[in-house]
């Protein structure tokens, strides 16, 4: 590293400073001051990140890994230390840039979106807390640091979803999000404990350099069974992945993400689409060489990702709440990224197409999805509802937004030359190269579905006649502070794929792999055509259904007179209800009730019995004290006889 790392401190310090200053001092006094300060600091952080990135990629050092700075946090034993540091490699640099950039944009956007809110200062403080935590997460040099910031992003997500804490729906959504991710994190923590115990290290370098052979002949007691340490590592890998499973909201732990849309829209855009939810993908990418040695972990990851991808896309086709549609779309895209990582293994060998594709998709997805959310926020801010029922005909009122939305929608649909095309194409290619044809099929299908539901959203929102009075009456306009970041984000949404593709192909490799690497991969030049073809066909279907002159909008938005399959999908396969049922009946009504029963009746019962027992004995003593002198005199005699026989006197 020739670059001066001192500037990299700024990346972390700036958001932290914003949090402290806004949270403690500025937030309550002046909302405007807080906003300005936040934008300023985040801008500096972005500039620093950009500077670091440029320095790194131009230094000729890339794509090697380095630790920019590191300090010990907790020492567990000699050489077994949890550090806090900054890992520098293409992946983390890319994430740093993305996070700071999106944070910068969202902060600007929030000036417009949160204007007039009671607790604007608090909002900016929490937003910066999130940026700080997310930056710490992506910069992690080891599992322990990652877990620390993993939890911190979780809590900032909780605080921001529940930002409007007087809204019961927001409160319960925030709780659900936190608890569900916390549930996954408990497995993550267990995984960390297990893996670090076996490997005697938290460090990514060390973990990624492990080979199972060294552990095959030692055993470890896992309580229920005695397994070899190699198996224990595999179990640990799955447990660690579980953390990512929950954080990236993979099926079946996906339900919190759509519900999290109760939070303010800037929050949804930064946390629940662009950055935090990809932490799971980032985790798997970061530990890819480790996962690669651990049996079939990658296959599990692939199937989890692939299923979520299709599942979410199907639900997205029927939703009417624009933020929820985008949330399901996020789920689906996360599925893409996840399964791309999972496809990289054929037998015992691995290849890296999927890894590159996945990280590339993180990059492009961040821009267009963030943009889409900001647009959705803009619409909601103007129309005062999330519901597609009340939109339509916004094209004329919000022209810039309309254009940007079109760019982003095309990008997510994978239409060339928009950014999404490049990354998604690679992902599909990776599935093909890995001989996972079923997944390949699903991916292509989902690509069609994605185009369909995105254009459904697009057409229903912007095209047609206005369906609400406020839109028709022309109260709708574009807010500058909100439109500016949308416009800025449209640029990378359009161009990032085209421009950065080379960068990714050149630099983005998962690091030194301890398993044989497959270099001869089959080429398939026809895949882009197929994918684009499917996308275009879906686009046309969407146009016919929702935007063509003959389209029956009422029918499209009807959710009552529908087939049972449609209703099932519309109700998200009743997953919310199932969760509710499990938690209510099984956890609160079952385990907790039993625990309380044990406490209230068994433990307290024994206590009460002991008290009763001594009181009963006391009653006995007092009954003897009857006042009869004759009886008292009798006790003298009884006493003599008693101690004669049990007094242990030796005669």
């Amino acid at each position: 590293m020739t670059n001066d790392v001192s500037i990299s401190y700024l990346i972390f310090l700036m958001p932290l400073l914003t949090f402290v200053v806004n949270g403690l001092f500025l937030g309550k006094r002046s909302a405007k001051g807080a906003a300005t300060f936040a934008i300023l600091c985040n801008g500096v952080a972005f500039a620093a990140a950009l500077f670091l990135a440029v320095g790194y990629f131009t230094s000729g050092f890339a794509p090697q890994k380095a630790v920019a700075f590191e300090m010990p946090f907790l020492k567990f034993a000699e050489g077994f230390v949890a550090n806090i540091g900054l890992l520098v490699d293409p992946l983390s640099i890319m994430m740093l840039v993305v996070v700071t950039f999106i944070a910068f944009m969202v902060n600007i956007y929030s000036v417009g979106y949160m204007r007039g809110d009671r607790a604007e200062g608090r909002f900016f403080a929490l937003l910066s807390l999130f940026s700080f935590s997310m930056l710490g997460l992506v910069a992690a040099t080891n599992l322990f640091q990652m877990f620390i910031f993993w939890e911190l992003v979780g809590v900032s997500s909780y605080l921001l979803i529940g930002f409007w804490y007087h809204k019961p729906s927001a409160v319960s959504a925030s709780k659900q999000a936190f608890i569900l991710t916390r549930f996954a994190d408990s497995f993550f923590l267990l995984g960390i404990v297990l893996v670090s115990y076996v490997a005697q290290s938290f460090d990514f370098f060390n973990l990624n350099g492990l080979t199972l052979g060294a552990f095959a002949d030692q055993t470890i007691n896992l309580g229920v069974m005695e397994v070899s340490k190699a198996t224990a590592l595999t179990i640990g890998a799955v447990l660690i992945f579980t953390g990512g499973w929950g954080k990236s909201a993979m099926f079946p732990m996906h339900i919190w993400l759509p519900n999290a849309m109760e939070g303010p829209t800037p929050v949804s855009s930064i946390i629940h689409s662009a950055t935090m939810v990809v932490a799971g993908v980032y985790l798997v990418a970061r530990l890819f060489p480790f996962f690669a040695i651990c049996g079939n972990t990658l296959t599990l990851i692939m199937w989890v990702g692939a299923f979520t991808m299709v599942f979410a896309a199907v639900i997205a086709c029927t939703q009417k709440d624009i933020k929820r549609i985008l949330a399901y779309s996020t789920l689906s895209q996360l599925g893409y990224m996840m399964f791309a990582l999972g496809t990289c293994k054929i037998g015992d060998a691995v290849f890296t197409t999927g890894w590159t594709a996945s990280t590339f998709h993180i990059f492009t997805h961040a821009f267009f999805k963030c943009s889409l959310f900001l647009i959705a926020g803009s619409l909601i801010h103007q129309v005062h509802t999330n519901d597609l029922d009340a939109m339509g005909g916004l094209r004329k009122k919000m022209p810039i937004t309309y254009v940007c939305a079109l760019i982003s929608v095309l990008a997510i649909s994978g239409i060339p030359p928009f950014s999404g095309f490049f990354s998604k194409d690679e992902i599909i290619l990776s599935a093909f190269q890995g001989h996972h044809y079923a997944v390949f099929g699903l991916a292509v299908l989902t690509s069609g579905l994605t185009t369909f539901y995105m254009f459904r959203l697009f057409f229903l929102a912007f095209h047609g006649k206005p369906r609400s009075e406020s839109v028709a009456a022309g109260h709708v306009h574009e807010d500058f502070a909100m439109t500016l970041p949308i416009a800025i984000l449209a640029v990378p949404a359009l161009l990032s794929g085209l421009l950065a593709g080379g960068l990714f192909e050149h630099y983005f490799v998962p690091g030194k792999l301890m398993v044989p690497q497959l270099l001869q991969l089959q080429e398939a030049h026809w895949i882009p055509y197929v994918a684009v073809g499917v996308a275009v066909v879906s686009l046309l279907i969407a146009w016919v259904l929702y935007a063509s002159p003959k389209a029956n909008i009422n029918r499209a938005l009807d959710d009552v007179n529908r087939s049972s399959i449609y209703k099932t999908i519309y109700h998200k396969f009743y997953f919310d209800e199932m969760y509710y049922c499990v938690v209510r009946q099984f956890v609160i009504g079952g385990i907790a009730k039993v625990a309380r029963f044990i406490q209230d009746y068994i433990v307290e019962g024994i206590v009460a019995f002991v008290v009763w027992f001594f009181h009963a004995l006391g009653r006995l003593v007092r009954t003897a004290q009857s006042g009869h002198l004759t009886f008292y005199l009798g006790t003298l005699i009884v006493g003599v006889i008693l101690w004669r026989f049990i007094g242990h006197l030796p005669f």
Binding site: F76, I148, F187, L190, S196, I588, V594, I606
Partner: protein
Amino acid sequence: METLLFNLIWLIPLLTVIVCIPVPKTNTKLLKGIHTFSGSLVLALVGYLTYFVYAQGSAAVHESAAPLLLRFFTDIPWLQAFNVHYIVGADGLNMFLLLLTAVIVWAGILVSYNIKGNQKVFFALIQMLATSVYGVFMSMDLVLFFVFYEMEALCMYLMIAGYGSGNKDYGGKKLTLTLAFGSSMILATLFGIYFEGGVNSWSIMELSKVTLPMEFQMWAFPLMFMGFAVSSSLFPFHFWSPDGHASAPTAVSMLAAGVMMKMGAYGCLRVAMFLMPEAAKIWLPYVVLLLIFNVVLGPFIALRHKDLKYITAYSSISHLGLIFLGLAALTPVGLRGASLQMISHGFLTGLFFATIGMIYERTHTRDITQMGGIMRKIPFLGVGFVIAGFAGLGLPGFSGFVAESNIFIGAFQQGDTITRIVTILAILSITTTAVYILQTANRMLHGNMPAKYESLTDGCFREKLVIVVLVACLLLIGVFPGWISDLLDQSIAPIFAKISQAAAPVVGG
């Protein structure tokens, strides 16, 4: 000089009580002033001494206190009829526990400004309780230790019975008697230790140099360990704590959960495990079995409760269970985690009870279903409560996480089957903790607010100060655990050395 100051730690509270005797009880302003000053003075004193210990490092260690690394070592003959000495001293662990106590006592005095009843007696009792706790964490002579240890029962009952709320006699009695039960178990074994040790000394250091007979250890260790564990509410002796806390006034809850419950765990480590390591190796796995209730079921019970103090009490029960998990691990990391958890949980539960007390002063109810949305009216107290909650569920950045991660990693190093299973269960039950804490915070602070709370006012400066200081302590340990864990490592080393040297035990001795 520092040694003299160190001995003043427990004397100042007592002197305060004496100074206050001539003050008429109607002059509450003066009384509060004197007590606040005394609390702050001790806090400053302990703060300085902690810094002294940290800055001087091992230079200040007193050699005649070997094998322990004690600073400020003082040894004066006291009751010569049975070789009882006044032996005090502190290593890193003691020092931090003293600091914790000083902070909690100081906070306890501040939050009790509005206590109803005879304030003169109440503050005097707080100071006596403080004396007792300081004494426990300072004394290295078993009798002195026990005197201070048992003293707390007296103050505790009077404060609960005289100043508590609800079913105060029941709660107070349950608490006092259960604790007394524990201490009688300890007292019974103390005599055994003295006579079986055969060194004619009650000094922990002297006794640690001999190996007590195995037959004696086999029955004395469980008795003594459980005796101490009673006050740390280890299942099945935890039942006193929910009722006790619920009926106690705020300051007493803070002191009870914050410091007093640590005395038990500290005793387990410093006395039971240090003096009887052979039996500890045999018995501790079975102790771990009990933790299933504390750590795994405790949070579930909290989930079913609606009274804030009950919830916090069960939360304490589960957190204290983790201390025992760390102790039972018998690894340096586990022991360090346990010590960290003692300190961390002290601050955290102090914050919990302080905010609960303040909220209760305003809403006059502790039933969370009766509240809602009051965050809008009392943001400062609300944030304090939420921070306590987050620290409680082990959020990184707060001390709880540091302690818990140490305990988990340390406990996992113990290969024993029972310990493994319980460790895994304990790690997985961090979710349950999150559930009840969030549920409580949400019900109480968020959502719709009943109209009757429109007139609530946020904390005054005094209350804010308490919250800020406690949060600062939580953050300080959570963000910079390095320096505190170094000192703790140093203090634990002799204890661990004694444990690891203990001969491989033969069951049935």
